[in-house]
Symmetry: C2
Subunit: 231 residues, 2 copies
């Protein structure tokens, strides 16, 4: 215990320590390198990133607000364990939230941004062809984010990011074991619908993208996956 494996991360000049700590921990949680159930210590993290408790505490508070960490009664902090129920809850929320985000983006979308979406989608296809899973996952998120942030009023996106983060640890594991995730690509459908400014069709494409991808798992498959992940 105590020896936390945190990959170093690029730190732009002028970035505060607490923000850096937040980014680095977030990244670690997203890729599942912090095992759920394992308790995190403030001093341990501070030491691992060569800083002090104060900024680390701020980062931990933010992450717990974002649902990425859970504070126990003992005041211990850990990455919450995934369960089949929680997983299904997160998926259904993700679907509703992202459909709504997509709808609210449509009136603000420009042809230029749609082109950018097409570009990201191509890059993702490349990554999939190269079997570069990590990049593919990142580009998939980039696609969705680029769509939703067409809306200048950003109140939904932080919540979508929160759901992604809570799903993150399992998502990484799932990609290791399941090929199904790569076969789904409704992005072309979404792009076509966007060109027509057809809100319903965009929402339908996003919904399909989620439900046929990670969200397509039935309960037995999820439980099997959780067993594989050793949780």
């Amino acid at each position: 215990m105590g020896n936390l494996a945190l990959e170093p991360l690029d730190r732009p000049e002028g970035m505060t320590t607490h923000e850096y700590a937040h980014r680095r921990l977030r990244q670690a949680i997203m890729v599942g390198s912090i095992r759920p159930g394992e308790s995190l210590t403030i001093r341990g993290i501070a030491e691992a990133m060569e800083s002090s408790p104060t900024p680390v505490r701020e980062a931990l508070r933010r992450l717990s607000s974002e649902g990425a960490l859970r504070v126990l009664d003992n005041r211990r902090i850990m990455v919450p364990r995934m369960t089949a129920d929680r997983f299904l809850e997160l998926i259904s929320l993700r679907s509703v939230l992202e459909q709504h985000a997509a709808r609210r983006a449509v009136p603000h979308i420009t042809e230029r941004r749609i082109d950018r979406l097409a570009e990201i989608d191509r890059a993702q296809d490349d990554a999939i062809a190269r079997k570069d899973k990590a990049t593919a996952l990142l580009l998939n998120q980039e696609f969705h984010r680029t769509l939703y942030t067409a809306n200048p009023e950003q109140v939904i996106m932080p919540m979508v990011e929160s759901v992604w983060l809570q799903l993150g640890p399992l998502l990484g594991i799932a990609m290791e074991h399941v090929e199904q995730l790569y076969l789904v690509d409704r992005h072309q459908e979404a792009i076509a619908a966007l060109r027509k400014r057809d809100e319903d069709a965009v929402a339908a494409a996003i919904d399909a993208d989620i439900r046929e991808g990670i969200g397509g798992f039935e309960r037995p498959a999820i439980e099997n996956l959780l067993r594989l992940a050793g949780q």
Copy 2:
């Protein structure tokens, strides 16, 4: 500046200072006693609640994650100003989120909890009859919260709370000026639908409750309200 008016708040034994600071600031923001645009200082808050910067900073980080505060480039912290666009965005998100929360609660609802909902609704009607606006607002939230928390898996509720908090400052002002908000009561409809375990009807009642209440404002009415609020 600097002299922050923070109403004292009951502090249960064993509650940490940063959690207390969070609760107290949250409460102040929710009722609109911190003017949007006015910048908050860490030392000012620490002094106002007779503590020190460290726990206050943790509270501020949490609140900014919850969308209640915005951190500017200068690292200044303030309650975000409301605009008509942001308001409409928040309302539509609230509707979508709470309809979903309601649907996901239905399978877990018990008769006992429905009785509790009926009780809360009666208390709210009393408060309205007494023209006790603050209590009515609190009881309305309590009604919605009691419904959604029937679902044992709590991933949606924090997001609903976040939306409430972002809407909070204006909500308080709106209740001062607009009688319309009191006339809406779709709670009875929701209760009837719950007794029948009719998900669609429950969602419809919640949607109506939101859209005919605070959400029923058209853009001109909102802009007028914002003017009244002096923002």
